[in-house]
Assembly symmetry: none
Homo-oligomer: 149 residues x 2
């Protein structure tokens, strides 16, 4: 099971390539085979799943009902943006134009490790997103960092 974490400031070159941080790469299971699935994320960012984690996502949407209009909409949206992507020999991902455009990514990117997935953001959009949240780090930590009993 993957457990990505951390926040990394990286750059996208003018070919749309983004390097995966070394610390993130160390958490990719060998089963992923250097293959990732990129797709549209929640909020204005991209989700990057290692192949093995993506398989779990696929499993969960297989359970959705084809006869339910909302389910159809969800599955179509998720899958139409999804793209296979392999690391090049420099451990970079080449991001398709339409995904870059969706996420509003230009030169600088923010890479977040979020447990089973990796997220790619335009730093400014991320900042705006964070500033519009009512909760703070402290209030969040209070809920989660409580020692186990």
């Amino acid at each position: 099971m993957s457990s990505f974490k951390g926040r990394y400031s990286y750059s996208a070159d003018n070919k749309g390539r983004i390097a995966l941080p070394a610390k993130v790469r160390k958490n990719v299971s060998p089963g992923a085979n250097d293959t990732f699935i990129l797709t549209r994320g929640y909020e204005q960012c991209l989700f990057v799943y290692p192949q093995d984690e993506w398989a779990k996502v696929e499993d969960s949407i297989r359970g959705l009902s084809p006869s339910n209009p909302q389910h159809r909409f969800f599955v179509r949206t998720l899958l139409q943006w999804a793209v296979d992507c392999q690391l090049d020999s420099q451990a970079r991902l080449s991001i398709p134009q339409d995904l870059l455009k969706f996420a509003g990514i230009e030169n600088e990117v923010l890479i977040l490790g979020v447990l089973e997935r990796i997220e790619i953001w335009n730093p400014k959009i991320y900042e705006t997103y964070m500033n519009n949240q009512p909760a703070t780090y402290e209030t969040v930590a209070e809920v989660v960092l409580k020692p186990a009993e």
Copy 2:
């Protein structure tokens, strides 16, 4: 279960490395494998969890739902500060720049053992924090340690 304690004055060298006190090291369980997770703490300090203790924190984060917007915010907020860190052969941790900056750490540091985690402070900030507490040790003890009824 870990049980760190004590207060230690140490130094951070110009590479951002901080040695873990020997007495603290003796309380790290072998399961931690010399790996620690550093993250932002309450107030202006850093939390250091041995790997096995961090696993408990992560389990509680995994319980949050990726499809709930507030939960997504929680997970991002907590994980963006977290960093894996291994002891070098001199039993030191190499602290990333952004965490040093957050905690306002320069040359001198204060290391505190706090049960399941270790805390790293700028000594001056810690002093200010302690001086600004409205209550005294005694009055707080009275409230906190009251026997359950």
